[in-house]
Each structure stands twice: as structure tokens, then as C-alpha cells.
Symmetry: D4
């Protein structure tokens, strides 16, 4: 039975690739949001027409992206949410809340300096780590029972 | 039929009081998280015993607070989420995601400078404003059909 | 046990008042959308600020109204949907579909000339009539077992 | 992961074919109601026997069609609802409401002249356009992240 | 906390009154279908107009009655289903199945001679008895912990 | 997309085979209860040990059969319930109620003489017929849009 | 808004009274299983007739008790599960699992010596303590934000 | 249609292998928790880092294991829960409660000496046996209708 894993959050480093590479050979199907920042920002107006007001420009894009992100989370067995070093990252926390209300298993990848600010998100997670590599080890354990040497 | 409204998010200004005061006479029942910052941070260890590790100190508190916040959101007809000027406020975004997955009506109170960073949260809301006063006007309209003069 | 009845649809005749009057003495709690046409159209911009584009003007209003209409339907035991003589009335059909997916008991009040066009909506209803008075008779029967003389 | 898309609404133009053609090569599974107007109208009596009363003639057909349409919507990730130029099209609005209550992602294809009458339906959609071609572009973006040139 | 009990099934003996009388002083709210046989059969055509075809005559009535019976079952904590000596009583078995799928606690009141024919219904029940008096004893026990002397 | 159809009810005639044969070539997956009457009656004690009391003999069997029947109904898109000429057939009506509460599409195959007694079950169905052959025609129409010649 | 709290588990000490007493003045509604051990064991046969086989004696009782315990858990905001010093207490762990799948907030009251054996139950709880008094402090905090001095 | 079976509970005997072997040739997909006791106990700290406090050591492990066990139960058609001779086995009872609240079909494999202590768990099961072999016979019957010779 394939394990469906949705990789939510930070899009400026290669953490998704690290996890996917380290899961070679496991029966995992990964999904994620569109990680092309420019496309993600402009998709709404590119397809449905320009908006003068930045709010509606962003609104059209965020809603179009929601078709993908909501489905990704709803279909997932495990939702991994990565908080990076920079930016507000409210969409990551929003995804974590969304996944939590759906009863999904949540793994958070965060940094020590954000520990206190993320305490509510951590409290909703089944695992917290600061290393993408550890996520792969968790998925391997969940699927095979095998632990890292 | 009483309208249940949960006031989530920022706890350093009097925005909750502004809304509650402006809703005098309306059939609204307000709920909110514990807004005493110190109590909210330390409730877990105060009742269940100290932890050396800050992560578990926070974990105990965040989970105890979750008893109140999850119930507040689950019982609400409307969840108002306020993003203030400072801090990461990931708990606010988490609450918004949680409320969204439950199909709650969401009103976001945010600031112009955060517009882009909040676009996913805004996209999940039925109303967005930068003034607490407007929330009271919305609740009045929803309950009575009356608009501000 | 109070019967909750949501009165959806046409807002240009007094059909709601006819039903409510004819239900005097019954344990029914009625709810309905805001029926002040102008307020309903302009509520969004009146509270959250003007929009140049008519689409967003309407969008803001429709979403604010949704706070009331979704809750009204979700809380109802019975959703009565009235289709009048004029206009597209897509919101009425939308409400009927929304109520149907939630498993609500639906009563449709429509006119003979719309019979064919409403066949899918009628198929989802537990009762169809062309007279508001008959709705009151149904509610009386459902609550008391009494039939009209 | 195949994207399931249900194409609801207007059956007198080739908008479904336009979308399906433009999605060649994408991992999309399309479904739709029976679009043969005569068969759709008469299926009930053709299989279960004639009715003198037009209401029951239509009732039998509409319920038999509901086996297909409800399932199509319930299985879909995305429900596209097209409002054409003519007719009441209450079944399209009903489907939109049904899809909305189930939390489906909704894309509306409509015409400028219907903007105001569809505002409640638009408010429940994640995307609104007046061109079938744009729907294909959205589906391509949702699946691949690619935008039109 | 009031216990809601729906009394489904046979309408030709006074078993409902026996239970209700024996529960005097307990915090129970009883509900039941319309038990006036003639009214129950004719309610549809009495309110919505006559039908020549007996099938549709019955159909209108059964659907109108469903507004009450579905709500009664959905609101109940306990559904008591009584199978009497005579008739097909498929509506009683239908109600039991409906209640079972909703996870309601089911008590069946049946007769020894129907034991084998009711085995699937009994298997879905939390209690089976052949005496209405025993139902009252069960409700008393459930509410107070007290057993019959 | 394969259509899942559960064939519930009467087990003494070959109605299931008639439907399955007439659906050759269609993408339908049929399921049904165990139709070997003796095995169905005795499965519980055959595997889990004899019971002196007939009630518990039947209880063990009915619960073991429930593993199959509940799953069959829960997985089905369409539940066909056949009422034959003889017996109480309360399990068929129970299945119909169970399917109805789950929102399944129900097709009833019954006989003219049972019309009045089945009115509540018919009211919950999307189609009613007295011929198994007609069920196959419905499934064909639902899947292909094709009507019988 | 009254907080509903279900007190599950051990019935041989006065821990329930300790919590209830310590919650004087708080808006809490407590519920619990029948705590009269003899009545709880024999309720089934006392009302529905004797069984020779101990399994069915217990079965009848356990199912009758389930009417109360399932409802108690389903209606609760918070489920407190107490594991005492003795006995298998599988019903307590069962209740915890039941509550967990329903998304209830769980507080576990257990003893140090059972820490390892209860780790899966603890992992599903929002709070763990070894003192009933602490439960009252938690409920007070959840309702009022006040911490113990 | 493959039958999904989750094998929960005791991990010190080969009961899982017995069932799996005896189901050769049947369309069953088995799943189970990680049954390597040491790995199961230490997985949390092995991947996420050591804890001084045994409670948190176990907590990390139990939550990581929950990713697998919750999914296993949620995906299962049938949950088999085995209670062995030794230990508290609260996780087994917890799994049974969790499965019960989700409406899963439960089969309990237990021993005569635990009959009274397991009565609530047995009451929630569709079958109870003391032999793993009988589970295989049940699965065979459920899938094929065939009984043991």
C-alpha cells in the first residue's frame, strides 16, 4: 500500500529533493505545492486576466493554488511541513492546521530558533525534527520497521 | 439563535474588547484562547510538573491550551483570526487552517503590509479587513441585516 | 424539540410572511437570508470598502452573505426553497444543492411553468408545491400529525 | 495521481470537448452527465414505464440521472460548472451547491452578462472564467505547475 | 442531559404509551412517527393534491413522513424499533438500518416467532427484548444505574 | 471508473445472475451477500463453536455475515435491493435503510403486491422496478447514456 | 458554554468525587459510566433474562452499558481516563481509543509504574497526570485561564 | 476487491504468520504494527534524538508508531485484535476502541481466562475466538462463502 506524503512549506531550499532521494526504493508517492515561486504568485492573473489591485491579483493566484494544495493534503497519509529560516510562512502553518483538522499524521521540520513560536504546531505533530534526512528515516521506519544504523 | 464567534490570534492589543463592545445588544457568544501570555506559556508545567527541556515545557502547555482552542473553533459559527504587527503568529495561521478544514466561516483581520504573505489565508476567508470595528459591523449585518450608517 | 426551518430563495413577495403567519403556535424557528435587496447587494463594500470592479464588489457581498446563508442551511432541519416568476435565481438552486449534499429535508415551492427546468431540484426534494400555504400545512403535519380540514 | 474532473452544466455547445482536447497528455479523468438531451429527458420512462403526468415523467428521469451525476461529483477532485447563454440552468447551480457542500474545488465557466446573477455561485468557486480554454490551462497548471506562454 | 429516544415501528398497539408511562420521572424526550394510520397514508395528497396512481399517492406521503422520521432518528440517542405480530413492517427494518448506519444505539422489541427472521436486525442492536416494559427498565438503568427490583 | 454495485436481498431466484449477464461488457463490479442459505445461517457456529440457544446461534452468524454485507454496501456506488415473493425479508429492508443513511444510490426491485408496504423504502430509492432486466438497463444508461431499443 | 467532561475508567476509588468537588463553581457537566460494579455486571440479565453461558451474560451487560458509555464519550468535550492500580482495565483503554478516533480531548490519569505500558494511550492524550486534583486544575484553567497558586 | 485486514495486538507469538499462511490464495492485504519490540520502543529517539526522561523517550516512539498504526486501522476493512497471555496490552484495547469508533469490523482473538475483563471489547466485536486459525476461516468465509470442512 503506497504511502502518500505531502511536502508542504518552504520552497527556497532543496529539502524536498533530499527527502525524495533518501526514500529511493520505498513505496512512497510524494506530492507538493507548485514550488516555482513566480508561477505560484502569478498563476491566477496569467490564466484568468490581470487585476489592478494587488489583493485580487494574489487572491486569484492563491485560490487557484488551493486546488492543488487542498487536494494534496486531503489525499495524504502524512503531511510534512517545513518551516525555513525566513519569511512569515503563514501558508505552512495554515497547511498544518488544515491537515490537523483532517486528522492527518503531521511531521514538522523546523529550526531550533523557532521552537517557542511553533509550539502549537509542534503540539499537533506526531514528529518534530530539524533535519530533512530524519523525515526519510521516519518514512522508512513507518513502511519497513527498519531503523537507521 | 446565538451566533458563536471565536476570536483567535494576536493577544497584545485590545482588539477583542473592541469587537465585543461594538456588538453590545447582539446575540453573539464570544470565545477566545487564554490571553494571559504568562499563564498560557506556563500552564502545562504549573499543573503537570516542571520540565528541564524547553521543548517539553512548551509542549505540555501547548497541548493543554489545545483543549480550549480546538473546542472554541469547533463550536464556532465564525472564526475571526487577527494577525498583529509583530511575531511569527504561526498559531493564528494554524487556527485559520484548522477552521478552514472544518468548513467554518473565517474573517481575517490583518494589516496592509502583510497582504502578500497572508494571501493563502485570505483566500480561505469569507471576509478580510484591517479594522476590528468592521468585524463588529459584519456580525451585526449577519445577524440583523443592518448596515453601518 | 423546535423544528428549524430555513426559507431560501425569492425575496420579492411575502411568501415567507405567509408561511410564518400560518405557523403561529407551532414550535418552529425560522431563519432566512437577508431579504433587503439593496443591503444584500452592497454589504461587502459598505463594510470592507469600495471596489471599482463590479465582480469584486459582488464577490465581497456574496461572501459576507454566505456567513449567514451557509449557517442557516447547516442548522436547519428543513430547507424550503422558493423559485419565483422572475430572474435567474441561481442562488436558490445553489442553496438547494448545498442542502441536498448535507442531507437536509428539502421542500420546493415553485410554479407550474418551471416544472421541467426544475426537475433535478424537484428530484432532490421531499415535497414540491406551488403554494406557500401548503408549506405551513406540511410543517404542521410534521410537528403534530394534523392535516388540513 | 490522476486528477478527477467532473464537467457539469450546459450541454448544447462543445465546451467539454474543447477542455478535453486541450488536456491531451495530462493525467486527468473526465466525467460528465449524460449529454444526449433526449435520452436524459426520457430515460426514466423508457426503462421504468410511461407516466401520464409530466411531473412524474421528469421525476423518474431526473432521479435516474442523479445516480450518475451525484457519483460524478462525489468522486471528483474538481467540479467545473458551465453556465451557457440560454435556459434556466438550475441543475448547473444545483450541482455547484452540491459540490460546494462537499468541499470540492469548483471552477465556474460563465459569461459576463450573468456576473451579477451568479455572484453566490462565483463566491463558492476557486476560479471563474468565461473561456473553456482557460479551464484546461488551470488543470495543466494544477498538475504540472506550467503556465500558458 | 436529556436522553432522546425515538420509538419506531408498529403503530397498532399501545407499546409507546407503556414505555412512556413507565419512564415517568426520567429525563427522557420521546419522539415517534405520526401514528395516525390514515393521516400517515394520505398526508401527501391531502396537502399537495391527489394522484391517480397509487404509487405516487403513497410516494408523496412517504416522503412527507420522511421529514419527520429521518429527523427523529438523526436526533435520537437511542432508537427503539418494535416489530409487531402482523404486516410486513419493512419501514421498521428500514429505520433500524438507517439508525445503524448513523451509529445510533438500537433496542429491538420483537417476538419469539420472529427471532430467525430478525437476526440481522438483532445483530445490529445493543439490546433485544420482547417486552416494552423492559425498554423502560433499560432507559432507567442507562440514566440512573438503577435496576428493577 | 468502475461502477460498484451491491446486490442485496432475496436469495432464492436467479435475479442476480440475470442482472450480471445482462451487464456483460459494462465496467461494473458486482458484490453481494453470501447466497448459500445454509452456510449463511450456520457460519457463526461452524467457525466459532456451537450454541445451544438458537438466538446466539443466529447472532454469531448474523454478525459474521455483517463483515461482508456492511463492507459491500459501504463500498458500493449503487445498492440494488430485491424484495421477493416470500418471507419477511427484514434484512433487505435493513440494508436499504443502511444504504440510505450512507447516501448511496438505491434501486429497488419489488412486486406490485408489495407496493404499499414498501412505500417508505421506495421513497428512499432513486429507481423502482419489478424487473431485474430493467436494473441492467439502468446501469447501462448510467455508464454509457444508452437506452434500450 | 458548559464544558462536558466524561470520567472513564477505574471505579474502585473516589477519584471522580475528588475532581467533581474540586470543580465546584465551574461550568462543567460531568458524566460517567455506571460505577456500581454489581449492577454494571448484571444489568443485561437482570432486565433481559438469564444466560447460562457467562460469555453471553457479560455480553448482554456490556452492550447495555455501551448505550451509556458511547453516548457519554460522544457528547463530551473532554474525556478523562483513569487507570488504577489493579485489574486489566481494558475498557478504560478501549474508551481512550474510542475517544481518540472521535477527536476528543483526552486527559489520562495514571501511575508511574504504568508509564511504559500506557505509552500509546499517553501519546493520544493532551495531558497526562497522576493526580485527580490536577485534572480539576486543568479544567479550571481551560475554562477560566486561572492557574493554581 | 481486496480485503484489507489489520492485525493489531500481541507481538510475542506467531499468530500473525498463522493467519497469513492460512489465508494463502485469498485476496487479502494484511497490515500490522512494527512487531520488532526493540525497534518499536526506541524508534523515536533513534531518529529524533535521545531523551533523558523515559516518559518522553516513550512518547516520541509511540507517536512515530502512531503514523503507522492509525493508518493501518483507518485503511482496514477488518481489524483483528489479539490479546495474549501476558502484559497489560492497553495498546491492543486502545486500537479496538479506535477501530470501533471508526465503524470497522472487529474480530477479537482472546483467551478464556480474559473473558470477563474483555467484555466491553467483545461487545464491540463482530466475532470473538480464541484461535488464530478461526480468523483465517472467517476471512475465507467473508470472501468466498466457503466454510471449513
Amino acid at each position: 500500500m503506497t504511502l502518500s506524503v505531502y511536502l508542504s512549506g518552504e520552497i527556497h531550499t532543496d529539502w524536498r529533493e533530499q527527502i525524495i532521494d533518501a526514500c529511493q526504493g520505498l513505496d512512497v508517492a510524494f506530492d507538493s505545492p507548485v514550488t516555482d515561486h513566480a508561477a505560484s504568485d502569478d498563476c491566477g492573473v496569467a490564466i484568468m486576466g490581470a487585476e489592478e489591485n494587488k489583493f485580487w491579483h494574489d487572491h486569484k493566484g492563491a485560490k487557484l493554488n488551493a486546488i492543488r494544495t487542498r487536494r494534496g493534503i486531503e489525499m495524504a497519509d502524512v503531511v510534512v511541513v517545513r518551516f525555513g529560516e525566513k519569511y512569515k510562512q503563514w501558508n505552512a502553518a495554515f497547511d498544518a492546521g488544515y491537515a490537523s483538522a483532517l486528522g492527518k499524521s503531521i511531521i514538522v521540520v523546523s529550526q531550533a530558533e523557532h521552537q517557542h513560536a511553533l509550539k502549537e504546531v509542534h503540539a499537533a505533530a506526531l514528529a518534530v525534527t530539524d533535519e530533512p534526512k530524519a523525515v526519510a528515516e521516519m518514512l522508512r521506519y513507518v513502511l519497513t520497521g527498519g531503523l537507521p544504523n
